[in-house]
C-alpha cells in the first residue's frame, strides 16, 4: 500500500487533452484551476444547502426559541441555557446511553450479516440477481411498515411469544418492559439495515481483481485465509466508509423507535433523536431541540473518530 501512495504523489497534474490547444498564457491558468472545476458544483451545493442549515441549527441551539419567540423571529440569545437544561434532564442521559447501545449493537450485527452475505453472493448461480433485489426489500420498504410489523411480532400475543411457547419459554410483553423495549427496536433496526451493508460491501468485493485471489490459491491459501489477508485489507476504504455512514444513519434513526415504543415505556427507550423530536415538536421548544441535535452531532463525531482510531491500529 505504501508503494501505491508513493506513486500517487508523483503524478503531476496533466491538463486535459484539448482538440485545439489554447495559447500558453491560458494553459498555465487553466492547468492550475482545472481540478477545482471538478469540485465547483459540489462546493456551491455545500455552501447553499448544507452550510446554512448547519449554522442555523447551531445558532438556534443558543437561542430561546419556543412558541412565544419563534414566529416573531426575535429569538433572544440565552447562551448555554438550552444545553444546561438538556444536560440536567435525566431522560437525556438515558437517551444518550440508549443511543450508544442501539448504535453499537445494530452496526455489529448489520455489518456481520451484510459481510457474510456479500461473500456468499460472490459466487455465480442462477437467480442471483433476483435474490439480491429481494434482499434489499427490508431497506426499501417504508420504515412505517417495518415498525408496525415488528410491533405486531413482539405483541404480547404475537408470533414471537407464540414461538417462545412452542419452545417452552414464557412469553414476555417485550415492548412494554424497560430493557426489552430497546432490544426490540434494535432487532427491527438490524433487519432494516443489513441490506445497506450487504450491497455496498458486495460491490466493494466485486471490484477486487481476480488475479490476486488466483495467486493466493496457487500458493495454497484456504478460503478464509484469502478473505482475511486479501479481501479485508483491500476493502478497507469501503469498510471504513460503510461503518462511518452506518453509524451516522443509525444514530439518526427516528421513525422506527417512535412508532414502536414512542420512547417509552416511561421514557426508557428514548433515543436522542426521539427525545429531540419530543422536545421540539410536542413541547415546541425548538431551541432545546437544536441543542440536542448538536449533541447528536458531537456524539457521532466522537464515535467516528473512535472508529478511525481503531482502524489505524
Amino acid at each position: 500500500m505504501k508503494q501505491l501512495e508513493a506513486t500517487r504523489t508523483r503524478v503531476s497534474l496533466v491538463p486535459p487533452v484539448e482538440p485545439r490547444p489554447l495559447p500558453h498564457r491560458k494553459a498555465a491558468w487553466w492547468r492550475a484551476l482545472a481540478p477545482y472545476s471538478f469540485i465547483l458544483p459540489i462546493v456551491v451545493f455545500t455552501l447553499l444547502l448544507l452550510a446554512y442549515p448547519m449554522l442555523y441549527s447551531l445558532t438556534l441551539s443558543f437561542r430561546d426559541a419556543t412558541v412565544d419567540t419563534f414566529v416573531s423571529g426575535d429569538m433572544p440569545f440565552n447562551g448555554f441555557a438550552n444545553y444546561q437544561q438538556t444536560l440536567s434532564t435525566g431522560t437525556f442521559w438515558q437517551a444518550l446511553v440508549n443511543t450508544i447501545i442501539f448504535t453499537f449493537c445494530s452496526i455489529l450485527f448489520q455489518f456481520t450479516i451484510g459481510f457474510l452475505l456479500a461473500l456468499f453472493f460472490q459466487n455465480r448461480f442462477p437467480l442471483k440477481n433476483v435474490l439480491i433485489a429481494l434482499l434489499l426489500v427490508p431497506w426499501i420498504a417504508p420504515v412505517l411498515t417495518a415498525a408496525y410489523t415488528f410491533k405486531g411480532l413482539f405483541n404480547e400475543v404475537g408470533p414471537v411469544n407464540q414461538l417462545a411457547h412452542w419452545f417452552g419459554i414464557p412469553g414476555l410483553p417485550w415492548l412494554a418492559l424497560p430493557g426489552f423495549a430497546l432490544a426490540g427496536t434494535i432487532v427491527a433496526n438490524i433487519w432494516i439495515g443489513f441490506p445497506f451493508n450487504f450491497i455496498l460491501l458486495y460491490s466493494g468485493i466485486c471490484g477486487i481483481p481476480q488475479e490476486i485471489y488466483e495467486a493466493a490459491r496457487i500458493d495454497g491459501a484456504g478460503y478464509w485465509r484469502r478473505v482475511s489477508y486479501i479481501t479485508l485489507p483491500i476493502l478497507k476504504p469501503v469498510t471504513v466508509a460503510v461503518l462511518m455512514l452506518g453509524t451516522i444513519y443509525t444514530v439518526k434513526v427516528f421513525d422506527l423507535v417512535w412508532i414502536m415504543t414512542g420512547g417509552g415505556p416511561a421514557n426508557t427507550s428514548h433515543l436522542l433523536s426521539t427525545y429531540a423530536y419530543q422536545v421540539g415538536f410536542s413541547l415546541l421548544n425548538f431551541g432545546q431541540a437544536a441543542a440536542i441535535a448538536t449533541v447528536i452531532v458531537l456524539l457521532i463525531l466522537s464515535l467516528n473518530l473512535f472508529q478511525l482510531l481503531l482502524q489505524r491500529k
Partner: protein, 274 residues
C-alpha cells in the same frame, strides 16, 4: 468469478433461497395481512393465511397510489442522475487530483449528515421558501440531494481509493491523458461502485418521508411515501392500505434494482486485465 466450491451452482441457489426466506420472514406478515380484512388481522386466532383473500385491499391501494408513482419516479431518477453528475468528478478530484480543501469538504459533508433530518428540515424550509421552490419538484430534488450527495461522495471516494492506481500510472506513462485514463481504465472497473451509488441515490429519495413531508403540501405533487403515510391517520390506521401499499411502493424499486444489478454483474466480468 471464483470457481464454485460446490459442484453445481444450483446448490448455492438453494442456500441463497433459504437464507433469503429466513431473513425476509417478517414480510410474510405484511403479505398475508394485506389480504385480510382489518377485523381478521387483529382477531385473537392466529392464522397463517387469510380465510378469504381480500383483493380489494390491493385494487384500492393501486388506485390510490397510481397518481403518485410518476412523482416518485421523477424525483428519484433526477436525484440519482444529478447526484452522480455532481459527485463523480468531485470524488475523482478529491481522491487523486489532491485538490486543496478536500479534507474540509469531506468533513463538512459528513458532519452535515450527522444532523437529524427533523432539525435539518426547518432551516431548509426557510431557505426554500425564500427561493420560492417549496411545493415544487425541483425543490424536493434539491432537498433529497442534501443527503444523497454526501453519501455518494463518501462511497465513490472509497470505491475509487480501492482501485489500484498502478494501472492508471501505467497508462499515463504510455502517453494517455487523465481523462482518457479515467474513461477507458478507471470507469469500467469502478462501474460497479458507480452503479451501486446510483442505485442507492435512487432508493433513498424513493423511501424518503421527512423531506417530502416538509417541502411538499400539494397533494398532487406528493410522492408515494407521503400518500402511504396518510394510512396513519389521527383517528385510525388504515391497515389494508398500509400493508398492500407498502408492498406496492417497494415493487418498482425492486424491479429497478433487478434491472440495474445486471450491470453490476456484467461490469464486474469485464475485469481489469486486457
Amino acid at each position: 468469478m471464483r470457481p464454485p466450491t460446490f459442484r453445481s451452482p444450483w446448490l448455492y441457489t438453494v442456500v441463497g433461497v433459504i437464507v433469503t426466506v429466513i431473513l425476509l420472514s417478517p414480510l410474510y406478515w405484511v403479505l398475508s395481512g394485506s389480504l385480510m380484512t382489518q377485523r381478521e388481522l387483529f382477531s385473537p386466532h392466529f392464522s397463517l393465511w387469510p380465510r378469504e383473500l381480500v383483493y380489494e385491499n390491493w385494487t384500492n391501494a393501486v388506485v390510490r397510489l397510481w397518481p403518485h408513482l410518476a412523482t416518485s419516479a421523477i424525483v428519484s431518477v433526477c436525484t440519482s442522475a444529478l447526484t452522480l453528475l455532481v459527485t463523480a468528478p468531485a470524488a475523482y478530484a478529491i481522491v487523486w487530483l489532491k485538490v486543496r480543501g478536500r479534507g474540509a469538504i469531506l468533513s463538512f459533508m459528513l458532519t452535515s449528515q450527522m444532523l437529524p433530518a427533523i432539525v435539518f428540515v426547518i432551516p431548509l424550509f426557510v431557505v426554500f421558501s425564500r427561493m420560492n421552490i417549496v411545493n415544487t419538484l425541483p425543490g424536493l430534488i434539491l432537498g433529497d440531494m442534501t443527503f444523497t450527495v454526501p453519501f455518494a461522495l463518501v462511497m465513490l471516494g472509497a470505491y475509487l481509493r480501492e482501485f489500484p492506481y498502478q494501472l492508471v500510472e501505467a497508462a499515463l506513462v504510455d502517453g494517455a491523458g487523465q481523462w482518457r485514463a479515467f474513461f477507458s481504465i478507471v470507469l469500467p472497473v469502478t462501474i460497479t461502485g458507480m452503479i451501486t451509488v446510483a442505485i442507492f441515490s435512487f432508493l433513498m429519495p424513493w423511501g424518503d418521508l421527512i423531506f417530502a413531508l416538509s417541502l411538499i403540501t400539494e397533494s398532487g405533487l406528493q410522492p408515494l411515501t407521503l400518500e402511504l403515510y396518510k394510512a396513519r391517520g389521527a383517528l385510525g390506521i388504515d391497515w389494508s392500505f398500509l400493508l398492500a401499499g407498502s408492498l406496492l411502493t417497494a415493487l418498482p424499486a425492486v424491479i429497478f434494482v433487478v434491472a440495474a444489478s445486471r450491470y453490476i454483474v456484467s461490469g464486474f466480468t469485464r475485469g481489469a486485465l486486457h
